[in-house]
Amino acid sequence: MIKLLYFASLREALGAAGESLELPAGVASVGALRAHLAARGGAWEVFATSKSLRAAVNQAMAGAEARVAPGDEVAFFPPVTGG
């Protein structure tokens, strides 16, 4: 299982703050996870269409090639706007 978290406008668009997910066979990177989530259709297609969506694996910023393994916490969110 991995823990998924969604923040800010993404959380509102999906209507979910997070979920636990059994990592499907063959999904081992942030990019592959995005494709898997986008395949749910509807609002989830943002995972395929958004160029600005950011990811963090275990609380560290991560690119599409970053590895994802069972036990990880993976967060998706729009570009940050603090300060």
């Binding site: 978290l5 923040f7 800010a8 406008s9 509102e12 600005s52 963090a56 609380q59 560290a60 910023m61 916490e73 967060a75 969110f77 729009p78 570009p79 940050v80 706007t81 603090g82 300060g83």
Partner: protein
């Protein structure tokens, strides 16, 4: 370094004083305070990613400590609902000489703006909306990558 993410306001004077208290080697203190602008905004709500926020801020401060000779660093970022004029963020740096304090303070703010997981939602007369990230903030952070 000392980092706080909190709903409560902070006392700028006390924070600035603490940066050089009982430290004879401190010759400079630079600070930045970010505020909620009131133009067309009724309130602003700051959301964050609690498990990551302090880790991201600590990483930014650690990078500043590698680049410049710093004595103390203090970062406070507020979360929750804030009204126009309220303080959002405090960055304070002490060093032996002013250049390091000025530069590190600006660097920490530029990196915080683009790398720390906070998101602003504005409430206006027309409704609430999430604030878009600005390219100028990315450019401000990028200039530290080159020409060091």
């Amino acid at each position: 370094m000392a980092i706080s993410v909190q709903e409560a306001d902070f006392d700028c004077g006390a924070e600035i004083a603490a940066l050089s208290a009982a430290d004879d080697g401190a010759g400079a203190v630079a600070s930045f305070v970010g505020l909620v602008r009131g133009e067309n905004i009724r309130a602003m709500t700051l959301e964050h990613y609690p498990a990551m926020t302090e880790k991201a801020l600590a990483d930014i401060v650690a990078q500043a400590e590698q680049r410049w000779q710093l004595r103390r660093v203090r970062v406070i970022h507020r979360v929750g609902r804030l009204l126009p004029g309220e303080r959002i963020v405090f960055v304070g740096v002490s060093s032996s000489h002013r250049h390091d304090a000025f530069a590190a303070c600006e660097f920490i703010m530029d990196y915080l703006k683009t790398r720390a997981p906070f998101w602003k939602k504005e409430e206006t007369a027309a409704g609430a909306h999430w604030v878009d990230a600005r390219e100028s903030d990315d450019a401000a952070a990028l200039r530290w990558e080159s020409g060091r």
